[in-house]
Every structure is written in C-alpha cells, then in structure tokens.
C-alpha cells in the first residue's frame, strides 16, 4: 500500500520523475534498452553469419582434433543411424587396467565385435581408425571381420592363427586408447609424440618426425618473408605517399595490378622465370654470368617459396604503410632538420615512430597470411620449401586423417593467438592501423 501512495504523489526525496510519474532513471533505461535492442537486431545478421561460418566450423574442427569415435560407434552415411561398436572389447578394457595381458575373454570379445562389425559393415572404418596409429590394422580388421564368423573357441589361438600381429601389445594399446570418446593422441602425433605399448608418451623415430620441424620452418620463413616485405615495401610506400599525385597514381597502379592478378598466375609466372631452364637462368647464361652447367636452382626449394611469397604478400605490407604515411605532415621532418638533426636522425626520431602503426599492421597482416599459406609453397616449394599448411592439406585430402589435420590446425591457431597476445603486450593492439 505504501508503495502505491508514494508513486502517486511526488515526494521530497529528490528523485526526478517523468510526466507520467515514472522515475527518470527507469524511463531512460527502458528507452536505452529498446535502442540497444534495435542496434542488436541490426547486428544480428552479421552475428549469425559469423557464428555459422566461423565459430561453428572452428569449434567443429577443434572437436575433431580431440575426438575420432570411429572405433566406438558407426554412423551409417545413408540413414545417419548411429550404432555402438566394439562394445565387448571396450567393456573388457574398462574392467582390466592398461598393460593387462589380453586373455581368452578379451579375444572372445574381440571376435564377437568383429562379427558385429561385419554385420553392419563397419570393419573398414574401425580398422582405418586404428590404422592411423598402428599401420596394417585396416587389413587385419577387414580380413578378421570376414573370417570371424567361422572361428571356433579357443578364440585366442584361432585369431593368432589368422594373423599373429593380433597379439602385439602396441595394437592392444592403440585399441585401448581409441576406446575413449576423447583423446589427446592426435595432438601428441602433431608434436611428433606417440604412446608406447605401456601407454607412456615418447618421441617418434627420427625418420618419422616432421611436424615440429615444419612448425619451426613455417615460423622462420614467415618472419623472413615479413622482414623482406617490410624492407622492400617501406621505400615504395614512402614514394607513394610523397610523390606528386600524377606519379604516385601510376606507382599505385603498379602496386595494385599484381594484387588483382590471380594468385595461381603469379605463382606459375615465378616458375617460368626461376626454373633452371627459365628466363632468369637463360639471361644469366647468355650474358656469361654463369655457365650452362652451373644454372642456379632458384625454385622448388626454400628460395622459391620465399621469393614467390614475398612478391605475393608485398601489397599487404605496402597498403597499410601507405595509409599511415600519407597523412604524416612533411613539416615535422623539416622542423627536425631545421633544428639541426641529420637526415638519418630526423628519419629515425621523427618519421619512423610516426609510421609504427603501419609497420605493425602490415607486419601482422603479412605474418599471419604467411603462416597459413598453402598453394604457393605447394607449387614452388619442392621438398624443403613446404610449410605446415601443406601437411594439413595432405591429411585433409590424401591420408583423410582429419583429426590429425585438425590437431595441426589447432596448434597453428593456438600459436597465432599466443603471438597475437605477445604482440598486444609489446606493441599494443591500439597502435595498429590498417587504413
């Protein structure tokens, strides 16, 4: 009751009220809320777009990197029906700790599961899942499933008669680690680690280790390419920003023209130019710089990757630099000179600091693009100019081990986020200026 009276009659407490008697604060909040809602509805399409095309696929990718349930369930691609598989064996794994010698019960469960696999035609999928870690398992599963229905107890001897690899502790360890829905094994594989028969993590053989090397190579080449684009792009951007308009326009077209040309065309042009029977070598031979026998190998190696990628990424450095340099007032440098600075000091103390936001933006852009570059290294990289993205593509397209591809991509994403964070700490993301 007290509340009703207090809202009907203006009080002396000092709260402002609107004409209809509501407190001003609440009325304002309502009005602002509806404005915020309207704004939100405007942003909603973009938000949905980002969720559907960006967050959801990345989430799915990260999910895949820790889970490949083809050993625990079978999805019929026609009907979408999900059937649990390897139930017996997984129960045995639950009841017996890692490292237990598989007994007759384990083999009996295995045989029953193989028979079931054959019924629903899932032996290929289950075998392929194990085959990623234990090569040869695919045919053991398909062959085993074909014959499992005719096996008689004792199952251990019957199975080992078929293929004695079934007794290999490494295979049992692999089946055990594939029995969980979630696994870190793909991330282990992505950093050249594997589990031994007891489940301990160890390094893979020297001759199979590749991913750490490629991560490192990708990082180094990307830094080199970023530095090269900066060194080459800075003077060009400076010219663009300072030349009279009619010259700078022509120069701008020269910068942009390659930018508009297809990536593949630019990459293959480099092949024509740089190959051992190519234009550059031909000219060098004809003017006598090198002999016909000592033609330079400039492509299908790291040199090729660096040259082609530097060229292709150059506009991504020049354009942010240009947009930052353009508004810099030339009188700043003139003022420095008139106060006695040498041209180098004026550049170092006045001009360069003013271009930092452009350098930062260009470097970040080029570096992040370079880290994920795929088609150029694939075409001109030969054997040693390959980057990590080429291996991701390999696992996506050839080996079809999507979980490993996802784990590699996840590591790459994580690495970039860490670098971005470091960058924010060192340079400050507020200093970034793209245009």
């Amino acid at each position: 009751m007290a509340d009703t009276t207090s809202s009907d009659i203006p009080t002396d407490s000092g709260t402002l009220q609107t004409a209809d008697g509501r407190p001003l604060k609440a009325a304002l909040a309502t009005a602002q809320r509806s404005a915020r809602n309207r704004a939100f509805y405007l942003v909603l399409p973009l938000l949905l777009f980002v969720v559907v095309t960006f967050i959801f696929p990345i989430g799915q990718m990260l999910m895949r990197s820790v889970s490949d349930p083809r050993f625990i369930e079978h999805v019929d691609l026609g009907t979408g029906e999900v059937t649990p598989i390897m139930v017996g064996l997984r129960t045995w794994f639950d009841e017996n700790p890692a490292g237990t010698e598989p007994d007759e019960a384990a083999y009996a469960a295995l045989v029953a599961d193989l028979v079931h696999l054959r019924e629903i035609r899932a032996q290929g999928n289950a075998g392929t899942r194990i085959n990623y870690v234990y090569p040869g398992a695919r045919s053991m599963f398909t062959g085993g499933a074909r014959r499992a229905g005719r096996l008689e107890p004792p199952f251990k001897d019957a199975i080992l008669d078929m293929d004695e690899d079934w007794a290999d502790p490494a295979l049992w360890q692999t089946m055990r680690s594939s029995s969980g829905r979630y696994t870190a094994d793909f991330y282990l594989a992505a950093i050249d680690r594997e589990r031994d028969a007891q489940g301990n993590i160890q390094k893979v053989d020297e001759e199979r280790a590749i991913y750490l090397l490629l991560f490192e190579r990708t990082l180094i080449l990307s830094v080199v390419i970023t530095l090269l684009t900066l060194i080459l792009g800075f003077p060009v951007a400076f010219l663009l920003a300072t030349l009279p308009l009619r010259y700078s326009n022509v120069l701008m077209i020269l910068v942009l023209l390659p930018f508009w040309t297809s990536l593949l065309v630019r990459t293959t042009s480099w092949i024509v130019l740089l190959q051992t029977q190519g234009v550059v070598n031909d000219i060098a031979v004809s003017v006598g710089l090198i002999t016909d026998e000592s033609r330079l190998q400039m492509i299908y190696n790291q040199t090729g990757t660096v040259i082609a990628m530097t060229h292709i990424l150059l506009p991504f450095m020049i354009l942010p630099l240009y947009s930052v340099m353009r508004p810099i007032n030339p009188s700043y440098v003139r003022a420095a000179r008139s106060l006695g600075a040498t041209s180098w000091t004026a550049f170092r103390r006045i001009y360069l600091p003013l271009t930092i936001p452009g350098i930062a933006a260009g470097s970040l852009l080029v570096f992040i693009l370079a880290v994920g570059y795929y088609i150029t290294p694939a075409l001109v990289g030969g054997s040693r100019g390959q980057l990590i993205s080429n291996l991701i593509a390999f696992h996506m397209q050839n080996s079809l081990n999507w979980s490993l591809a996802a784990a590699l991509a996840g590591l790459l994403l994580g690495g970039i986020l860490i670098l971005y964070w470091l960058y924010d700490r060192l340079v400050g993301i507020d200093n970034l200026k793209l245009g």
Partner: protein
C-alpha cells in the same frame, strides 16, 4: 530499377536450372580425361541425350570423403586408383555396385569372367590398366637408359629426375633399381629394412629430383628440359610422343601396373544414371575405343581383340600397352592391399624424408 532486379533474378534462376547437368564425372584431366570424353562421354550423351560434365582433379579420390561427410555430393562418377577404391569402399563412402548389371561380352561371356582378375570389387569397376613407367627426353640424354637402375644412376645419365610426390611407386621403383626382383618387392617393403633400403636408394638422387603431382606435369617437365628423365603415367608419355611428336622414349623395365576404376560416391545426386554410365563405358566396345585415344589397356579381355590403331590412323596401339608381352618382362603389379594399409604410414615417413 526494382523491376530490372526482379527480371535479372528470374533470368539467373532460369539459366541456373537450364545449366544443371545430368551427370558429373570426375577424372584426371589431360590426355586421359580427353580419351574418356571421346570414348565414353560423347557416345553416352548421344545415346541418352543427357548432358555430361567432366571435372578434372589431380586425384579424384581426394574430394570424395569431404563431399560425402558434408552431405554435399556433387560428383556422380569418379575415376580412382585401386587402393583408394578399396579404402573409400571400406570407409563406407561409396555406393556398392551390383556387378550383375554390367553387360556381357559380345560372345556371351558374363562380365564377371570377362574382366581381368581383380578388375571388379564391391564398389568399383575397372576401365583401364595403366602403368607408372619412367621416360626420358632423347635430345637431353646421351646414351640409352634401359633399366630402372639407370634412372637412379646420376653418373651415367646426369641431369634432373622427375618423381611423383608420394611414396607409392617411388619405393617400389627404388627397390627394383637396387636389384630386387619385381616379385619380392612387396614382401621386402613389409619389413623395416626394406623400407629403409628403398629410402636409402631414393637418397642417392634426392637432390636432383623435381617433384610432380598432376599427371600432365611430367611431359611438360621433359619437354622444357627441366628434367632429363621422369616417372610418368605411360599414356601421357605416349600421347606426347606420338600425338605431339615429342622426342620421348618409355623404359618399360620396372613398370608398375595399376587399375583405374569407376566408383559412385555415396549419396551421388544421379546415382542411377551414374550406374548406367559405368555399364556403358565399361562395355567391350567402349573400352576398346578408349585405347584409340591413349595407350592404356582395356580392363576387359574381350576388348583386347578390338584394339586397333591410334587416332592418327597409322600407329598400332598393341605394342604401346602396358600389358604387351615385351613390356611385361620386369613388370610389377601394384599391391593395392599393401597400399591401402601402409599408405598413411609410408607417406608420413615420405613427407618427413622430403622435408629433412
């Protein structure tokens, strides 16, 4: 303005529905794809009045998994290698094909007996026997390489080599070059020592190798003089040599034979027509016709007798086939089971070997 917009939208929609294809076939492009267009697609289109679109890929097996898992299959028929056909079929990514629907040979032999052994599997029908061989450009090579060992002999035959960027075929060839008899190659590759030995052999030429991925690349690399010898699909070399008068010579020693098979991805939009296409394309006459355009052997026995001249009308095709008696001396038949099992492992090692 608004009216124009509506009109153009309507037009685009109509154009889109008119341009819809009846059947999409994905194959390897180049001379091989062209031979399939001539021998299979054109007569099939004429017969049925359907529109057939040919799509090229470096390896048509690769997009299948992505398309099937995403539930967005655009290919009706794909032409894949044997081990890929087995692997994809095992993973449930292909439609099973009822082999009894395939036409009999003209003399009444049922299809199951007419196809050469191994040419039919649960999900795939072979159309050709092809082979990975090595070839050289006679203008750039002094002397005459005759054996696989010559390919690995940089002293006797200096110059760059072209190899396919994958473990398959390279490991076998390395062992053959190292003196292993063709029939022992896969037994040896099952062991770690065998694989080590193959990689050791590849090590001897590693620094002189230009790696290729698409089948059209080796003839190009040979013609440019970028390499002096290259492994290649035999039909591509034949077409460049006979069809385009390139000075290429094939060395059949250590050739690795394989099938190419037609498969239907699970959930193909026109699966019924795809099956019809496969039955048509792999009948006796069509397989023999195909050999008129490229030197790949037909997968049916009954087609052999019908193989005649190359499209130029003078070149006898028979001696250029991988299956010709003279070419089989030290030939290896690709062990699809081995590669379906070991592909991931050996390619992993191959990639590591390449990158180091």
């Amino acid at each position: 303005m608004k009216k124009t917009l509506i009109m153009t939208t309507a037009l685009v929609a109509v154009a889109g529905s008119v341009a819809a294809q009846d059947l999409t076939v994905m194959s390897w492009g180049g001379a091989y794809g062209a031979s399939q267009i001539e021998a299979y697609n054109k007569p099939f289109a004429e017969l049925t009045g359907k529109d057939i679109v040919m799509v090229d890929a470096d390896n048509p097996a690769t997009p299948i998994k992505a398309q099937v898992e995403a539930g967005n299959v655009t290919i009706d028929v794909a032409d894949v290698e044997y081990s890929d056909a087995i692997r994809l079929c095992d993973e449930g990514l292909l439609e099973e094909i009822d082999m009894s629907t395939l036409p009999d040979a003209p003399d009444g032999t049922p299809a199951a007996d007419d196809f050469v052994a191994g040419a039919l599997t649960d999900c795939a029908v072979a159309n050709i026997v092809w082979s990975t061989v090595f070839a050289y450009n006679t203008t750039n090579v002094e002397g005459e390489p005759t054996t696989m060992a010559d390919f690995f002999d940089l002293e006797a035959f200096p110059g760059k080599r072209g190899l396919r960027k994958s473990a398959k075929a390279n490991l076998e060839m390395a062992l053959i070059a190292d003196g292993v008899a063709a029939e022992d190659v896969y037994d040896l590759l099952e062991t770690d020592e065998g694989v080590d030995r193959a990689f050791a052999m590849l090590d001897t030429i590693k620094d002189s190798v230009v790696w290729w991925e698409a089948g059209a690349q080796p003839p190009q690399l040979l013609a440019d003089g970028e390499v002096v010898m290259s492994t290649a699909y035999n039909g591509r070399i034949f077409n460049a040599a006979v069809g385009e008068d390139q000075p290429f010579e094939i060395v059949w020693d250590g050739q690795i034979m394989d099938f190419d098979l037609f498969v239907i991805p699970k959930g193909a939009p026109n699966a019924e027509l795809a099956l019809e296409y496969i039955s048509f394309a792999t009948d006796t006459q069509r397989l023999a016709d195909q050999a008129k355009w490229i030197s790949y052997g037909p997968a049916r026995v009954s087609s052999g007798a019908l193989v005649g001249l190359y499209q130029d009308g003078v070149t006898e095709m028979a001696p250029h086939m991988p299956t010709a008696e003279a070419n089989l001396e030290n030939a290896l038949v690709n062990n699809f089971e081995f590669w379906a099992d070991r592909d991931a492992e050996l390619n992993e090692r191959f990639n590591a070997w390449l990158a180091n």
